[in-house]
């Protein structure tokens, strides 16, 4: 028993325990839902993976990126090219390669981004989001141009089917296979991000965010810290893009417009800047809100067009409401409320709190709201 407590007190141990629990929850949830929910969960997972990367970049290092949709496109196109090849690469290998390629692109963009601040950085990454789809059009022969690359999810490997049957006594459908793949990717990415955020690297990122001069005085190389944050964030976006390619089954420029980049930023803001749980909550909201609203509109007697127009409206209202009423995002606000309940005497200072970067905790400082 004491050993268990010891494990809980070490960061890695705690993260691994949470991960194991998360894997269990994923299996239980995916098994208990129908195929359509599994598809929606996959969508939530790829938004969550990319938003997780963005929340680390923005929340921990203070860099704003409006170009993460473009980085997802890099991951998605790499996957589409690899998976359509014959013989087909095993999907995990394709996912890893896509992540690696996106990280490499992240190095280049990160190096440029490290020299820019605030609105200039936002502008540069915005340009990336606008320009990258053009690359797919220019190299239309390989990248499919406007039509995009179609992708067929390869047959589920036999051992996976057998293993799934062994555990659940159901045959594994293709959509559930992709859902598992997506969520296991998400769990791994979040584990790595949470560990990194709690490590020396993460402390450097936060030091650079909070005060550049102080960080430099402490011997931190500003450029290196910024580039490394960008690369890690790009890798997560690449993994998200790779999962997206599998889920959507088509990789085309129209799927990676500026809207996608803004959607990711929205997920991060809605959930709470710097918090992985917040990113996941934001992704969930963005995935499920539109269909719930449209259904509600239809059952309230609106015609199809009116019901379809209702979703963007409610989406906008929710966004404004969150920014006005809960500027730390949903998870950030809940967390602050919880702290106040437990410890009414002490004013919380999340920057120095011990569990600030564990999954489920807010990393954003109260000062960080202004960034």
């Amino acid at each position: 028993m004491r050993r268990l407590a010891a494990v809980w007190h070490s960061t890695l141990g705690r993260h691994l325990l949470v991960t194991a629990a998360a894997v269990l929850v994923v299996v239980l949830v995916v098994e208990s839902v129908d195929d359509f929910r599994a598809v929606q969960l996959t969508q939530m997972a790829y938004l969550g993976i990319a938003a997780g990367g963005l929340t680390v970049l923005t929340g921990l290092n203070g860099q704003i990126s409006l170009g993460h949709g473009a980085l997802m496109a890099v991951g998605a196109y790499t996957t589409a090219l690899l998976v359509s090849d014959d013989p087909v690469l095993p999907l995990p290998v394709a996912l890893l390669t896509a992540t690696a390629v996106t990280s490499a692109v992240g190095v280049v963009i990160g190096a440029a981004a490290a020299r820019l601040r605030g609105p200039y950085l936002a502008g540069a990454t915005l340009a990336l989001a606008v320009a990258l789809p053009g690359v797919a059009l220019h190299f239309g022969e390989t990248l499919g141009g406007e039509q995009g690359l179609r992708l067929r999810v390869p047959e589920t490997p036999g051992w996976v089917l057998d293993a799934a049957y062994f555990v659940t006594a159901h045959d594994l459908t293709r959509s559930k296979y992709v859902a598992y793949l997506a969520w296991f990717t998400l769990v791994v990415v979040y584990l790595l991000l949470a560990n990194l955020a709690r490590s020396r690297v993460g402390r450097r990122w936060r030091a650079v965010r909070d005060d550049e001069v102080a960080a430099e005085l402490a011997g931190i190389h500003l450029g290196r810290a910024r580039v490394s944050a960008f690369v890690v964030s790009a890798a997560a976006a690449g993994a998200g893009g790779a999962v997206m390619a599998l889920a959507v089954r088509l990789t085309a420029p129209t799927g990676f417009t500026l809207t996608l980049s803004l959607t990711l930023l929205t997920a991060v803001v809605l959930g709470g800047l710097g918090s992985l749980t917040g990113a996941l909550a934001g992704a969930a909201l963005l995935t499920f809100l539109p269909s719930v609203i449209t259904d509600a509109g239809t059952s309230a007697g609106l015609d199809d067009i009116r019901a379809a127009e209702l979703a963007p409206l409610v989406y906008g209202v929710v966004m404004v409401a969150v920014v006005l009423l809960a500027p730390r995002g949903l998870v950030g606000t809940l967390h602050a409320g919880w702290r106040r309940l437990r410890n009414p005497a002490v004013t919380p200072d999340p920057t120095t709190s011990a569990d600030a970067a564990s999954p489920g905790a807010t990393v954003a400082t109260s000062k960080g709201d202004t960034r």
Binding site: M1, V39, E146, D162, I305
Partner: protein
């Protein structure tokens, strides 16, 4: 929490997990047969109703015009349901808004198939959008009927996509028909091509070049979404083209006309059927020019196009009279438009297919019925369908017309052909003289 409760909690959770792992184990896989049930119940079909659905752009840039298509189809299904349905079943038509974004099309089609459990998809709109879902629909063996797009991919290879059917004439035969007309009637014209940079433009160019490859002096392409077509029109002007064949969607027809007006470029225009609705293009012209160009249907005067179903410019046509009646009875807002007629027309074909498939409705049966009987389906189309087990392409021909005050004046007879090197012939099936049955329901 004191130590004892904590111990207890840990113990309970460990026990719970063990129990869970034990409970969910199936041990191993038996080679049990998957009894199909012999078609007793088909997905989306009950004795009282058949549920179908489609994806359309109801919001966003592609919405003008196109968002009216499902309202037309809905109006006709309301009419059919009010008259007893098909084999006693009413038709429930679910419409999803994909905003012309393939990512959304993919998730919404999943929603239709997996959640709403539709029997088939009907009329789903767009080339890039439908590209995202055609494989998965075929993998899941869901009939994918009458895609609202003329790309060849919806029917030229039934082996690859046995569940997918096109409906409107494909862009290649449209290119062939106008190509031959130009080679016979304007052999000296210098031809410029203004093309959308996807299957639409590509298929059409293939057809055109079969007849007038030597006459084409310039081919310019635009990407849907980029609204600056100045460079393309300027290049066409510089090439000295005096006839421009424009395979464009309505917005780009309007943009092309507007830029030509600015540059003083006045060739003879031919605009593809999908981009030549005079009322819509006129309205777009007025909007894009901020009122400088009046938004009347006459703004496309002298422009040539094609048609394959009667439209609102022929109010005396018995089909149009039927559509007017159906539209008025449905009580939806707005006027009868060509887009609504388009929706009603494919809805009519779907009702025919349901009737042909018989009382025991199955997905297999429906596809078989269209392959076997689709070539003889009556209806508003000017030329017969090409449906067979070798081709899932739709209407086989069209008529070249010239627009005057929004009305199409026939330039040729109805011409039919097929993809590849098959000949173009004047249609002798008499399909264009077909009139609707008294009841307005297919017989």
């Amino acid at each position: 929490m004191n130590t004892r409760t904590r111990k207890l909690a840990v113990l309970t959770s460990v026990l719970a997990l063990t129990a869970l792992a034990g409970a969910c184990g199936a041990g191993g896989k038996d080679d049990d047969d998957k009894g199909g049930g012999g078609g007793a119940t088909e997905v989306g079909v009950t004795d009282a109703a058949v549920t179908i659905g489609g994806t359309f752009p109801l919001t966003g840039v592609a919405a003008p015009g196109y968002s009216e298509i499902p309202t037309g189809a809905q109006a006709y299904f309301d009419y059919v349901n009010a008259n007893g349905g098909v084999h006693g079943r009413s038709i429930e038509f679910l419409v999803k808004d994909d905003g012309y974004d393939p990512t959304k099309t993919s998730s919404l089609t999943d929603e239709l198939v997996l959640k709403d459990k539709v029997f088939a998809t009907l009329g789903s709109l767009g080339t890039p959008t439908h590209n995202a879902v055609v494989d998965s629909l075929n993998d899941q063996e869901v009939p994918d009927l009458f895609v609202s797009s003329g790309a060849l991919a919806w029917g030229d290879d039934p082996g690859a996509h046995p569940w997918t059917f096109g409906w409107q004439p494909d862009y290649e035969i449209e290119g062939k028909i106008i190509g031959q007309w130009v080679s016979e009637n304007m052999p000296d014209a210098k031809v410029g091509l203004f093309l959308q940079d996807d299957d639409f433009g590509e298929d059409a160019e293939k057809g055109v070049r079969e007849y007038i490859d030597a006459q084409v002096v310039e081919a310019q392409r635009y990407t849907s979404g980029n609204t600056d077509v100045g460079p393309q029109i300027a290049a066409l002007q510089a090439s000295g083209a005096d006839l421009v064949l424009s395979f464009t969607t309505p917005s780009y027809t309007a943009l092309g006309q507007l830029v030509s007006l600015k540059l003083g470029f006045k060739p003879q225009w031919y605009v593809s059927n999908v981009g030549s609705d005079p009322t819509l293009v006129g309205g777009l012209l007025e909007r894009f020019s901020e009122g400088a160009v009046p938004g009347t249907a006459s703004s496309l005067n002298g422009v040539m196009t094609t048609r394959y179903i009667p439209g609102v410019d022929q109010p005396d046509n018995p089909w149009v009279q039927l559509w007017q009646k159906v539209w008025d009875e449905s009580g939806q807002d707005g006027e009868l438009t060509n887009y609504r007629i388009y929706g009603m027309s494919f809805a009519y074909t779907f009702v025919q297919a349901l009737e042909a498939a018989g009382e025991d409705l199955t997905r297999d049966g429906l596809v078989e019925a269209i392959e076997d009987d689709g070539g003889d389906f009556a209806g508003p189309q000017l030329a017969p369908y090409r449906y067979s087990s070798d081709s899932h392409l739709g209407i086989s021909g069209m008529q070249v017309v010239e627009l005057q005050d929004g009305v199409g004046q026939p330039v040729t007879d109805v011409l039919t052909t097929d993809i590849g090197d098959s000949e173009i012939a004047t249609d002798d099936s008499g399909q264009a003289d077909d009139a609707p049955p008294e009841s307005g329901l297919p017989e």
